[in-house]
């Protein structure tokens, strides 16, 4: 979800894809976690209202409510009565932990593909270091 633009930032698209094997509410959970990991939703950031998210994702409001409950149970967000749903201070940590396995798998696949097509390890390592430097800069 969330097609990437040329500059590497993701457009905030919450649209659920019913052609995927992943149930709609879990797609939403993953999309929110991704947005937190990417820093598009920082600690304290407000998630769209259930109503707004239902319209964005094109799913029933109950599906959104379930996703928000699941995210709250994970500790990534907190619902504040009447005010909305917010990313918790621990949100990034929770999201990163939850996304760790998935992203590592994806990284492994990409690295393997790169090695197979003939990129050398030093080049790949320098890309990694470069990315880390950019992140901490």
């Amino acid at each position: 979800m969330g097609p990437y633009q040329d500059d590497g930032t993701a457009t905030m698209s919450w649209l659920v894809d019913t052609s995927l094997d992943v149930p709609p509410s879990r797609q939403l959970v993953e999309a929110v976690l991704d947005a937190i990991v990417r820093g598009e939703l920082a600690a304290g950031a407000k998630l769209p209202s259930v109503r707004g998210m239902a319209a964005e994702a094109l799913v029933n409001a109950n599906t959104v409510a379930k996703a928000y409950r699941d995210l709250e149970q994970m500790g990534a967000v907190r619902g504040e009565n009447g005010r909305g749903v917010f990313v918790t201070a621990a949100g990034e940590e929770v999201a990163c932990a939850a996304r760790l396995d998935a992203t590592l798998d994806a990284f492994r696949r990409a690295a393997l593909e790169a090695l197979r097509t003939g990129h050398d390890v030093t080049r790949l390592t320098s890309i990694l270091l470069e990315l880390q430097a950019r992140k901490t800069a």
Partner: protein, 243 residues
């Protein structure tokens, strides 16, 4: 739940047209705040079911209640509680949407002008163009606005998305989901579009040969959402089994 608050309940409803039995001792319930997808092959009785709920037809046998009231004997009350979107506008084609809204407004106890303006603007609905000159999508939008304006307890949508281009379909779906969110309003949506059903439904009712072959929450009908298989696909199998 208080039975009188159940937006729609049908018990052992039979309806014949001449000798053909269209609905055969059909029973179903549409609970408050639920969105029910009504699925079934052509001729399964979906439109007849909606016309019965609206009080436009009488059942030959059985009981129908809209929020606890009889759609035929308490017709005017029920008309105010039910919003209906037919698959094609069923209004005079010389009317404009603005004229339609003005015509309907005094007939209802509640008419939400703010909602009409908000949706008309959002849809960029040409309110002063006659229905005969509106596109298919504009007509469908106007009918949805007219159905939502009285803030009905029950919304009946009969194939509302058929024949619409993807952009209009998206817009309509978006507004429908937004208007239904968080309210007590219930909706019964007859559709052949399984993508739409998978998105909007929290309950599914499958009709086959005039009877309910399957009904329940999406989880009950399709199994846990963790089970593999894409939702539209699983709905398709459900329909196949019913046929």
């Amino acid at each position: 739940m208080n039975p009188s608050s159940t937006p729609l309940s049908m018990k052992d409803v039979t309806r014949r047209f001449r000798r053909r039995v269209v609905l055969d001792r059909l029973s179903l319930e549409v609970p408050g705040a639920s969105v029910c997808a009504l699925l079934g092959p052509n001729g399964a009785g979906k439109s007849t079911l909606m016309r019965l709920a609206l009080g436009l037809l009488r059942p030959d046998a059985g009981a129908i209640a809209v929020c606890g009231r009889d759609p035929v004997r308490q017709a005017s009350w029920v008309r105010g509680a039910v919003g209906y979107v037919p698959d094609r506008p069923d209004v005079h084609d010389w009317m404009t949407p603005r004229e339609l809204f003005g015509f309907l407004r005094p007939q209802y106890r509640v008419w939400n002008d703010g909602l009409v303006e908000r949706l008309a603007q959002r849809f960029e609905l040409p309110q002063d163009t006659r229905f005969r000159s509106l596109s298919r999508g504009e007509g469908a939008k106007a009918m949805l606005v007219a159905a939502l304006a009285p803030e009905p307890r029950l919304l009946l949508l009969d194939e509302p998305f058929s024949g619409l281009d993807p952009v209009v379909r998206h817009e309509l779906l978006q507004s429908l989901l937004e208007e239904l969110a968080g309210g007590e309003q219930a909706a019964l949506v007859a559709t052949h579009d399984l993508d739409v059903a998978a998105r909007i439904a929290d309950r599914v009712i499958v009709l086959a040969e005039g009877r309910v072959s399957t009904s329940g929450s999406v989880a009950e009908v399709l199994g846990s959402e963790d089970e593999p298989g894409r939702l539209p696909h699983r709905l398709y199998h459900l329909l196949e089994d019913a046929a």
